[in-house]
Symmetry: C2
Subunit: 411 residues, 2 copies
Amino acid sequence: MKKTYGQNAIVGQSGGPTAAINASLAGVISAWLERKNSILYGMANGITGIINEKLYNLNKIFLGKNDDLNCLKFTPAAALGSCRIKLKDFNKDPVLYENIFSVFEKYSIGYFFYIGGNDSMDTVAKLSHYADINNIDIKFVGIPKTVDNDLCCTDSTPGFGSAAKYIAAVCAEIRRDTAVYTQKSVTVIEIMGRDAGWLTASSVLANTDFSEGPDLIYLPEVPFSFDKCFSDIENAWKKHNDVLIAISEGIKYSDGSYVSADSTKTDNFGHAMLCGAANSFKEPIKERFGCKFRAIEINTVQRSAGHLLSLTDINTSFNIGSFGVSEALSGKTAIMVAITRISDDPYTIKFESFDINSIANNVKCVPKEFISQDENYITDAGIKYLRPLIMGQCDPIYLDGIPMHFILPKI
Amino acid sequence: MKKTYGQNAIVGQSGGPTAAINASLAGVISAWLERKNSILYGMANGITGIINEKLYNLNKIFLGKNDDLNCLKFTPAAALGSCRIKLKDFNKDPVLYENIFSVFEKYSIGYFFYIGGNDSMDTVAKLSHYADINNIDIKFVGIPKTVDNDLCCTDSTPGFGSAAKYIAAVCAEIRRDTAVYTQKSVTVIEIMGRDAGWLTASSVLANTDFSEGPDLIYLPEVPFSFDKCFSDIENAWKKHNDVLIAISEGIKYSDGSYVSADSTKTDNFGHAMLCGAANSFKEPIKERFGCKFRAIEINTVQRSAGHLLSLTDINTSFNIGSFGVSEALSGKTAIMVAITRISDDPYTIKFESFDINSIANNVKCVPKEFISQDENYITDAGIKYLRPLIMGQCDPIYLDGIPMHFILPKI
């Protein structure tokens, strides 16, 4: 017989911000508030909110407040706060796990929802494993999010579509901006993506019958070479003088070293810190061609552009949050909810659940069939996959000239 | 008796792109197409289009094509192309002026419209002066545009409001993005503005009752000191851990040297080339506080963000273009049309004309009463001036998930 702490639930957000992670949170809240006599808590700053017992009572904040919930849906980044913690195995730090589960017991938690990326799914896997071997009945559900679109088992990740839409729109705008002058120029646009080139690939969506985007697209999935790049640029100049190149921050030479200048530093997970990949084109381009050059880093706004959301992405993000609640209530645990695509056109999807252990720590890269034969562009198959994810606009509420944000009260 | 070449008109765009310069072009075209039996030509790439005789027949392109004209209105950057040329005085290069006026004669030009900033108004001044002393009857009208908002005689410049709206929106989004983590951090947002801090000042508009923006705002109008900045940061940390600083690319030390690292290079006009002002905070902040630091450069998208336009700015830009046509037709020449504000709330304006010679080459900076006493923020008076300029949203036409652009056929 399993131990049961109660019927309350707790939800957290973890990892890097996205423009849609709050839509998933709103989906969880919306589904939970339909229940009676149970509380949904929110962890302040992911799992650290449990460790430090900093919890929001989300029923109190959102019950009967549909306008606030709607505003939350369109607010970028994690309203509950985030953290970047990878839990140690429980046999290496049993006190930590005892602490976490004592908080679960204190707040009568029966359901745990964690919205995040790879590292967050690892947390869900570890906690559910601990509960399993200690015979504790809590349903653990991971809800995917990441602008990087690099999670396995899901057709796309909530948050990716909105980032892709922003990138496509601004790449078309940067093309308008570079096209005004006549001299030969090279503009390099640096886009997020360490190992997976999904965001950079989405720059191809700037090319339509009614707008123009990059001439060349270099992904981390393909070894980069300046010699090849120079020859690609010379070909692109035959078409027009303002050559536009989209690159992933994580492009690497064939020996595996980053093109980015600052590849020596590492973050808390031991990943190499990347910055300045676009800037690292400056000297080689100047030296080879002596032409006008500009490096443009599409900064963190690409993941937090609440002012330009994909309706498809926001609706999917909201609905998958609600689906996570229904899966937990139906008794499932140690799962990540995921998107399965049924058709591209019309774009139709269904939600499914996968064993959390099949997901954590694997990275899904851009497949070969999405990369052109000369390895500098995206194929029609790639466009067919990407385009539906950016379709539709949201109407955030504007106040005083800018989109309103929902900000949780301090605790 | 003055020489008259004819009743046709010519319009050009010059200087850096803005999100509203095509709205002014659309305003000129719209007003001109109401006339019969005269052609409106468009210069390809500003004054160089005349020198090289590369001209669009805008009647052919836009007559009866209201959808295209509407799409042009929302398309960022200069659809006709731009140039960065400062004309020599006519006594230094008389052949150039003879060449230009021979093209005017060939195309029966009676009206000249030039949409641009300071350097463009200088071109209008020189050409109208040459026409005057050579007794040639062409009406020369300058239509202001610049994201920098640094032109004299006009309450604001077309293009500024849309750039300010984008900056305010993304500064609020960057605040959401930085607020998700709990550790002490400094994020420096670099915004365009060499001598005038108008764009950086508009970051204050991210602070509303429903959103949060920068804690500190440093303009080029105020001498910068890291000692003062460090003390400002320490004060800001008392409020929250994620300190957000907005700076102009052109902030200078009290000795007049740029904080930006690359202050040694110059552009074609002899202006110092600025880049990396935000990056130049990295070492001093790391050394002093050892905290998390991020530099964010709001790149060229700030001037070309057609996906986030200020309705006030776009309507004003369109209408001032049309006003320029009516002023020319009423016989005025050697003028710049300008915006005069009648009231802040409700925001009401009228258009007027000013002698072009009173405008060219003067820079309007942010006045002292808009800068807080401790010189690190914007006053209520500044907000009262800025806020109306970003109000209202446009509805660009979306196709394939991104805003459509109108692209002129190649000539």
